[in-house]
Structure formats: structure tokens, C-alpha cells
């Protein structure tokens, strides 16, 4: 009896100080070992197992039942409270209200909650629910309801599926994902709002080389099996086994085929659909719109926490879907702001980081050019303006937000031209989902606790080229948007 109690105490110790998934395995293995050593009998071990099962069943975790194919599952999410000021000014030559500011003050919140995990046989999955129906925002504005149900209505407080994806990582170095997923590409807000979770297919490959200079004669070691991050966003590099090494090179390639817009139906009953939008009758294309991306890149990590990453990417579009079959013009609100015609964008996000007095610092930048800007400008009614094809940003970041009392500050300059980018993807805050804008942004953050971050963001921008509108659909109903300013104060809780 004493042995049984001692065994129970020892195994219970394992239970108390290990994760719930590991507990049963470790306790079972420990009991098996004790039986083999003859310290406890089989019968005593079984009685301890029942007691442990009883203990486990009485805990909250023990009542949560997971199906057998699930290897690991993680509940995660965040919540944010925000105050935001956003204002835009009309142009000085506006015929009715020149130099007039349109301004909004909003108190907003967002909630994102998800489950992600790994399954048997190298499969993984993710599901995340988010507030808001917007693809580029998860914010809900307090009091922004119809009013039909009175104050504090729930009209705008909606939960949508933000992510729903399934993937496979059974091939060395390769991760395959399908569904509505975290963006698998290395990007910046210059091209992609980070709230967007694209839908479609993605293929990721990553391989790590560790190169040792000196002593070893420049030997290179290759690591083929990488871990997969459960958020599906990136491939996590395992720590190299070889020591010492001077240079680590992560080479990666990401490919994506996103379904941009579905056509319904592709083949309607009766004659094919036509449109007179351009002044003459023409058939409406009936193909789904796809956004295709090809990205190759590398991250070089040198000694002393110095790194450099480059991820050149090519984007192009096929088809038009139901909603993008009109050419982009972008000059005023009465013209098309969302067309995806003639976009073949070469993008070059780059980042260089180092530590100074143990303080992380980084220079980040992005340069993009639309190789079909001539056609896009011509279709917009501005032949000869294909030079408006460039977009870029460059900034400096100091600090990091990983634990309580950490801080970070970033500042950057951003410039986009009218025919450079897809206005449906660019960041919705800086500068209000628009192209043909330029200006500065600053973001500062402080970690009040490990999981609680306070952020302040400010940006100021103006029209990049006065000959064109500011294409895109944002929260400020002005086009051209002559000047723009935004201020946000955020309190974030992550779990």
C-alpha cells in the first residue's frame, strides 16, 4: 500500500508539472518502467492508473474531449480596443467645397479567436473567427448600428470566418495549404493589408543552409526537415545542430493561386451577358479572377544578430470575376476604383536588422513596379502616364515587443503612384486604402504586460501627383484625397 501511494505521488508529480497531452504518456511510461523494474506490481500500477484517470477527468482539461486524429490543438486570439481619428481634405480646386476636411472619430473594437493544430500523418488545420465582414478590417465601431433596434444594437457586431484552412507538410521542406489562410507570402503593408486572409492554394518551400567559414574549410550543412508553425504563415527554422557556424541562409520559395473573385454563373442560361460601359456593346467576361504570386527569397543571418532578408515577388491577375470586369480609372468617385486590369507587379520587400547595445534595430523597405502600367494608364484615360508605376517605402524600427516593459518605435516614408498597385489590397489605414498618396507614418508601442500592448499610430499623407485622383475605396469619401491624416490609440490583449 505504501508503495502504491508513493507511486501515485511520483506520477501525480509528473501530472502536475507537465502539459495535459504529455501527462498521460509520461505517467504511463513511468508506470511501465516501475513495473518492469519490479518496484510495483501490474495490479498496483493499474490501480494508480485509475486514480490518475479519475484526477484527470475531474480537471477542466480532462472534460475537453479531442478526436483521435488531433495531435495538437491551440486556442489563441486577441482583442483590441481602439480610438481612431481619420480625416481627409478636399483639393483646393474642388468645385463645391475646396480645402474642406472630412473627419471621423471612432471608438472601435475587434476580437479574433482561433483554433489551430496538427493532425495525424502530417496534416494541419486552422479556423479563426473574427469580428467584421470587411476583408481589410476586423474592427467594429461602437454605436455604428442601424438604430432600428435602439442604442447598443448588435447590427454591426458580427462574427465572420476569418481563416479556414487545411494543409499538409509530409514532404521535406514543403508546406501545402488550401483554404482561407494567413498570407503565406512575405509582404509589407505597402502592397497587402495585414488583415487580409487570401483564399486559394499556397505552396511553400524552405531550406536552411549553415555555412562555416574558417577552420572547417567553408563546409556547408543542409537541413532538410523544418518545423511548421501552426498559424500556417511561415516555416519555422530549427536550430542548426552544427557548431560553430558563421552564416545561416534560409532559402525559401512561396507560390500562391488565390481565387480573387468568383464568377457566377460562368455559363448563364440564354445569350452571353453584354455591357455598354465603355460606350459600345461588348461581352462580359465570364471567368473567375485569380491572383497568382511567385516569390523566391532568402534570409541571411550573420553572427551578432545581424540579418538581411530579400523576397522578390511577381504578382499577376487572370480573369475578372463578377466584380472586376471594368477598367480601373481612379480619378473621382464616379469612376471605377477597383479594376484589376493590367497589373503585373514586381515587388521587392527587404529588411536589414542588427542589434545596437542589445537593442534590436532594423531598416525595412519595399519597392514595387507595375510592369503593365502603360496599359493601365491608357485604359484609365491617361495615355502616356505609364510612368506612374512605382511604389516604395523605407523605414527604421527600433526595439521589439516580446515581453513586459518592451518598447518599439517605427517610422517610415511611403509613396505610391496611381497605376502601381492593386488598390484593393493596400493597407486600409495608411493611407485610407488609396494609391497616388505619399507621406510619413510613425508607430510606437509599449508592453504593459507580456500579453498586453499599448500602441500609438500616426500618419500624414498627401496626393502624390496632382494630375490624378487617389484610386481606391476607403473610409473617406473624397477623391482626389488631397491630404489625409490618421491617429490611432490601441490597447491589445493577446492570448
Amino acid at each position: 500500500m505504501f508503495v502504491k501511494k508513493l507511486t501515485f505521488a511520483a506520477v501525480a508529480f509528473c501530472f502536475a508539472f507537465t502539459g495535459i497531452a504529455a501527462r498521460a504518456q509520461e505517467a504511463g511510461a513511468l508506470l511501465d518502467l516501475l513495473v518492469r523494474k519490479g518496484i510495483v506490481s501490474d495490479q498496483e500500477a493499474e490501480e494508480v492508473r485509475v486514480e490518475l484517470s479519475k484526477e484527470a477527468a475531474s480537471t477542466a482539461a480532462g472534460k475537453w474531449k479531442l478526436s483521435t486524429p488531433i495531435n495538437e490543438i491551440e486556442l489563441y486570439g486577441d482583442a483590441r480596443m481602439r480610438y481612431e481619428y481619420r480625416g481627409g481634405r478636399t483639393a483646393s480646386n474642388d468645385p463645391t467645397n475646396p480645402n474642406d476636411w472630412y473627419e471621423r472619430h471612432r471608438e472601435r473594437y475587434r476580437v479574433r479567436i482561433g483554433l489551430r493544430g496538427t493532425l495525424l500523418d502530417d496534416w494541419f488545420f486552422g479556423l479563426r473567427l473574427e469580428t467584421s465582414t470587411s476583408p481589410r478590417s476586423t474592427n467594429v465601431t461602437f454605436g455604428d448600428d442601424s438604430g432600428v433596434n435602439g442604442p447598443f444594437s448588435k447590427d454591426s457586431d458580427r462574427i465572420s470566418v476569418g481563416q479556414a484552412y487545411l494543409g499538409y507538410k509530409g514532404f521535406p521542406d514543403i508546406t501545402l495549404t488550401a483554404g482561407r489562410m494567413p498570407n503565406p507570402l512575405v509582404t509589407t503593408p505597402l502592397l497587402w493589408d495585414d488583415d487580409i486572409n487570401p483564399e486559394g492554394l499556397a505552396q511553400q518551400w524552405k531550406h536552411t543552409f549553415n555555412v562555416s567559414f574558417g577552420g572547417g574549410g567553408g563546409a556547408a550543412e543542409s537541413y532538410s526537415k523544418e518545423g511548421y508553425s501552426k498559424d500556417g504563415k511561415g516555416v519555422v527554422t530549427t536550430q542548426a545542430a552544427a557548431e560553430p557556424f558563421k552564416l545561416k541562409i534560409d532559402v525559401f520559395a512561396n507560390f500562391a493561386q488565390f481565387v480573387y473573385d468568383d464568377t457566377n454563373p460562368e455559363n448563364p442560361i440564354g445569350p452571353a451577358r453584354t455591357t455598354d460601359t465603355n460606350g459600345f456593346t461588348q461581352r462580359v467576361p465570364t471567368t473567375d479572377a485569380f491572383l497568382l504570386a511567385w516569390q523566391v527569397g532568402a534570409r541571411f543571418t550573420f553572427p551578432n544578430n545581424i540579418y538581411f532578408q530579400l523576397a522578390p515577388t511577381l504578382y499577376n491577375y487572370t480573369g475578372t470575376g463578377d466584380s472586376f470586369n471594368t477598367f480601373f480609372q481612379g480619378d473621382s468617385n464616379s469612376t471605377n476604383q477597383t479594376g484589376i486590369n493590367s497589373l503585373l507587379v514586381l515587388d521587392m520587400p527587404v529588411e536589414f536588422g542588427w542589434k545596437l547595445w542589445e537593442l534590436p534595430m532594423r531598416i525595412f523597405g519595399d519597392f514595387a513596379v507595375n510592369l503593365e502600367a502603360d496599359d493601365r494608364a491608357k485604359a484609365a484615360g491617361h495615355p502616356g502616364s505609364g510612368g506612374q508605376r512605382y511604389a516604395y517605402e523605407i523605414g527604421l524600427g527600433i526595439g521589439q515587443l516580446k515581453a513586459k516593459s518592451d518598447w518599439e518605435i517605427r517610422g517610415w516614408w511611403q509613396h505610391t503612384e496611381q497605376y502601381a498597385l492593386d488598390p484593393n489590397l493596400v493597407d486600409s489605414d495608411i493611407f485610407d486604402s488609396r494609391v497616388n498618396m505619399q507621406g510619413v507614418g510613425v508607430k510606437a508601442g509599449y508592453a504593459l504586460a507580456d500579453a498586453i500592448i499599448f500602441n500609438l499610430t500616426w500618419a500624414y499623407g498627401w496626393r502624390s501627383n496632382g494630375n490624378f485622383g487617389t484610386g481606391g475605396v476607403g473610409d473617406i469619401p473624397i477623391n482626389p484625397l488631397d491630404q489625409y491624416q490618421i491617429f490611432q490609440a490601441d490597447l491589445n490583449v493577446k492570448f
Binding site: 518492469r36 495490479q43 493499474e46 485509475v50 484517470s53 477527468a57 483521435t68 495525424l120
Partner: protein
Amino acid sequence: MKIKYLAVSLALLATGLSSANADRLVIKGSDTLGAKLVPQLAEQFKAQHPGTTFDIAAEGSTTGIAAIIDGTAEIGMSSRRAKTSEVGAASAKGKHMKPTIVAFDGIAVIVNSANPIKGLTKKQVEQIFTGDVTDWSAVGGSGGKISIYTRNTSSGTYSDFKELAMKKRDYAGGSQKMAGNEQIAAEVGKNPNGVGYVGMAYTKAGGVKVMPIDGVMPSTSAVHAHSYPYARPTFYYTNGDPSGLAKEFLDFTIGPGGQKIVAQVGFVPIK
């Protein structure tokens, strides 16, 4: 006065029912235990305890454990351990799931005696039963589509084999679920491409042969030495410490007389 008579009558009736049930033992659960071993133990026990009757239902370990939770049997036979959820369910109903090991067993992988294959590795067993390989040629056989026979989902052997041999992966989609060990042995004996698993007590069926796993055959010595990979204990589950007839039968099972029968039937005695 009438109420007093009624109370006395009810008391007498209850006493009568109680004494009528006193010599009847309800046992439910595992087919592995209940098809052969427990009936033989019951016969021997009855010979020593005239007037005792048994009600034995062998429909799978899950039913035996459920019977203890529901209080519909005194003994629940099980060839697997009670799951955490079952122990929790019992606690919620005020029951204490008490296991007693009554014998050990080795789950034997059997193939048709005409199959030329000489043995399997643990990896090959996993591949066969999960459907990773579907032809005997992939595991050293002479070719032919593998036919898999398994127990049904209420069987303890079904879940034990999944855990011990298949890393908890799912059975192959085309596997055929049988009600008991004897049915599996019979089907494998008839099918040259058949493969299945049975308790050690069922390996003597005609037309089948037992596969060594990584060179180890299921045997008493291998099970005791923990060298056979698919060895496991088998249990009687009771609600707390048994009493009365259930205790007598349990004591008989794990005593010298019972363990002799355990060995005769083909199980591995606990000592």
C-alpha cells in the same frame, strides 16, 4: 394496521428477491474474455458452488465498462483499460472503477496458413492495418490484395491494437469489422489474402498461422518479459472492492484454480 401488513409484506418480498439474486452473477463485456475463458471459469466455479448461476454477455469491453457505470452488472470484463472519460463518467455517478488484472494476453497477428510470409515488423503491421500498403508484395509476400479483418468498435482489442500497433491511426477504409475473435480467425482461415488479429487463446483455429513481430512470437514468456510488443493485461472491473459472489468469483479467477484455467484456455496467467 393495513399499512403495517403492507410494509411487512413488502419487506418479505424484498428479502425474497434479494435471496433469489444472491446466487446469480451478472457479467458483461469483453468478447476476448467472455467467449471462452469466463464461461469455463464459471463452469468450474459452479461445480464448487452448486446453485450459482451466471448471466454472461460478451459484446465488447466497452459494454462491460458501461455496465459498471450503469450498475447493470457486478463484473465488467475488459481487454482494455478504462478511458479517462469512462472513469470520469463513473465518478459522476458515484461509482469507483476498480480494475483487477485477471490474465495477460498477447494480441496475435494472424494470416492464412497458405500465405508464404514468415514474419512482420511493427512498421509493416502499422502499414497493413492503416492501409499504407495494400498488397502482400509490399511486405515480402507473393502478391495479392490484402484483406483486413478487425474487431468492431466496441471491442477493447480494437482500441488496444490501434494504440499498440497503429500509433492510434485509423484503420484502413476497406477493413472488415467482425463481432469476435473466432469470426476473425474463421475469415482469415478461409481467405488466402486475409490478415487479422486475435487474442492468444484464439490462435489455434484452423487455416491460420501466427506472425512473429520483429522476430518475437506471442507466448507466455514473451508476454511476461514484456518483449512481445502487443501484450496487454485483461481486467475485471467492479464498482469499488467487490463483495459477495462477485468477490468470490474474482478471487477464484485470480487464484490457483482460476489461473490454471487461464493457462489452459490460452491466456497468460498473472504470475
